[in-house]
Symmetry: C2
């Protein structure tokens, strides 16, 4: 068996150790005689799994005690609707009009999020980099925030565009204390985060956490209990929080895998250690891209993502040859998103630096032969 280097944007590469453990335990978890996917979610075996996962995540991200950690069904797109369904009841204007939500548009995912929120709220785009084809983040001092929005939504790492916030925007002074909601789907656990600066952090699992079909929500307890009456019970954060993510059957196997990833992260030294490795991995690829005239990354260097690195061949007629050669070198899933084109290397926590080095080596070889 030869494992590949898998640069998929998500679902994405998992640590070998996690997959090996999952395979070994598939028919018999810890002598229980059951697979984790066969366990009642209310049985003592699975309860121990979800409790450990929650505690490990709290430790890894230093989540303060006044924040709840929720394991929800679904993914990022669904959560983009579930966020307003949970927060808008808090801020309904007395005149009966729909509340306002502020969005900062920095790429495909923040734009998609605004589309979902429009079903329930007035969406105010407080800043957008659409005019720059989403190659950067509008400077904080250009944001035109509302005086009292229900919340301000940012996507702190744009998976498709390759944009990452390197700062936490201060918004409270301009917005009468509105909470900051951050979609961290594609960079959660890749860098140290000060959770206390956010009202809500959410993330689909299938990049740095585990299998698709699980969404993580970290929410300040003051923001619970304000769902709109139309919010389904299964997605009502207060109900989920009050029942320790067990109001309905959670995606048990995905939570088990996430728990194994959290244990693996702790063995790697935690999030701060991972961040240093992620900086080194990203620098390796960006430095090469910046040195080469054969390849190009078009993102403002202040806003470049460490996780998702889009790049273009200067001569795009060679794209197919580049991808075919990559496949021969067992470097897979490098084709860019169809809305951006070109190539994209997603280098999440589980991608070893050897994988990034193998990609750079191949790119150099391709440039030498074809250039």
């Amino acid at each position: 068996m030869t494992r590949v280097f898998n640069f998929s944007a998500g679902p994405a590469v998992m640590p070998d150790e996690v997959l090996q453990q999952a395979a070994a335990e598939m028919l018999d978890w810890h002598g229980s005689g059951m697979s984790v996917m066969e366990m009642s979610h209310r049985g003592r075996e699975f309860m121990s799994i979800i409790d450990a996962a929650r505690a490990d995540l709290r430790e890894l991200l230093a989540v303060p005690p006044e924040y709840k950690i929720l394991f929800l069904q679904g993914g990022g797109l669904g959560e983009n609707a579930i966020v307003p369904l949970n927060l808008l009841g808090r801020a309904a204007p007395a005149d009966g009009h729909a509340p306002t939500v502020d969005f900062i548009e920095t790429g495909s995912w923040s734009v998609k999020s605004a589309v979902e929120a429009k079903r329930y709220a007035n969406v105010h785009v407080a800043a957008t980099s659409a005019g720059n084809r989403f190659t950067g983040i509008p400077a904080r001092d250009t944001w035109k925030l509302s005086a009292a929005p229900a919340y301000v939504h940012v996507c702190t790492n744009e998976t498709i565009d390759g944009i990452e916030y390197q700062f936490v925007p201060e918004i409270g002074g301009d917005t009468n204390g509105a909470p900051l909601v951050a979609d961290m789907s594609s960079h959660i656990l890749s860098r140290v985060v000060d959770v206390s600066r956010y009202g809500v952090i959410f993330a689909g699992a299938q990049k740095n956490i585990g299998p698709a079909g699980l969404t993580l929500v970290i929410v300040h307890e003051d923001l619970l209990g304000h769902a709109l009456p139309i919010c389904p019970s299964a997605f009502n954060w207060k109900t989920v929080a009050d029942n320790d993510s067990m109001y309905n059957t959670p995606p048990t196997y995905a939570i088990y895998i996430a728990g194994l990833v959290f244990q693996w992260l702790k063995r790697q030294g935690g999030v701060a250690a991972m961040e240093q490795r992620n900086i080194a991995k990203a620098n390796l690829l960006y430095d090469y891209l910046d040195r080469s005239a054969f390849y190009e990354n078009r993102i403002d260097p202040q806003c470049r993502s460490r996780m998702n690195i889009p790049f273009f061949l200067a001569d795009e007629s060679r794209n197919d040859a580049f991808l075919a050669g990559a496949r021969e070198h067992r470097l897979l899933q490098i084709k860019g998103h169809k809305s951006v084109g070109g190539m994209r290397a997603s280098i999440y926590n589980a991608m070893p630096i050897a994988g990034v080095q193998a990609l750079v080596d191949y790119m150099q070889e391709f440039e030498r032969v074809q250039g």
Copy 2:
């Protein structure tokens, strides 16, 4: 390693063969060098997996071509809200009032479903067996259906109460052609179903299909395109259908496991063959319960579930001893749901008849020693 006999109501027992294959393929699916949970959902490898799963399910349930098969994120409770969100746009009365939905209450799940629908519709309980503590199904000729409901909702197998429809209710003549919506979560694929008699069939995966976090929807194409404007994109059946369940990232690993279960079912001879085995398994346990004065099943014999068999010890002070002894015999997760009490044996497709025999043997032994 000793596998147990696992009578959990869900998540529930899986076929050993499926788990063995999943373990063997965990780090390298078919020479791809990737785990299925690492694959891009849009890559050719996963596309082949979901296409095969859809085709196998269509064959197993003889789903007519005018029905779409959807793989959705989430579970049964969430789907209980997603059903009205998708169907109520079709039937909004001209006077601006909320449309009416008819429910047949036969146990915990049909009652829970009505609670979710009440957020969006007038709920009319057309019949209920609450007065009989949910030990049967109200006779069809007692149902007081609305003249033109948006749809009629039934739960064709009540997991908690142990009730199963042994008939398909005809409703069209009384309701001006309203579609019949069936929650088949806990008995889908356990018996032959005439799909054409239903407008919508849905099922959470974690009983007879696969891991929790996946919901299957089989919907007549005429019922697509009528979602309420407040329905999130990720849960809009029309959007999901138009994108072959790929509008957002589906729960890829759960779909892979479901596909392995479908292949296993085909090797067992398909649904008709499983139904014969399920009848034999259920008869084995019910016949013993009916012969014994030590144990009791309280469900109308015409409505007994083949999948979920609740029973009581005549002397309930022996419950703890019964459960402890069962655990020693590696017969697990037999405790009844807290709302019903007593015991419950869930004997889904993957439970072999040897498991039911082992349970009956243990029950006889316990009766002999304690009786």
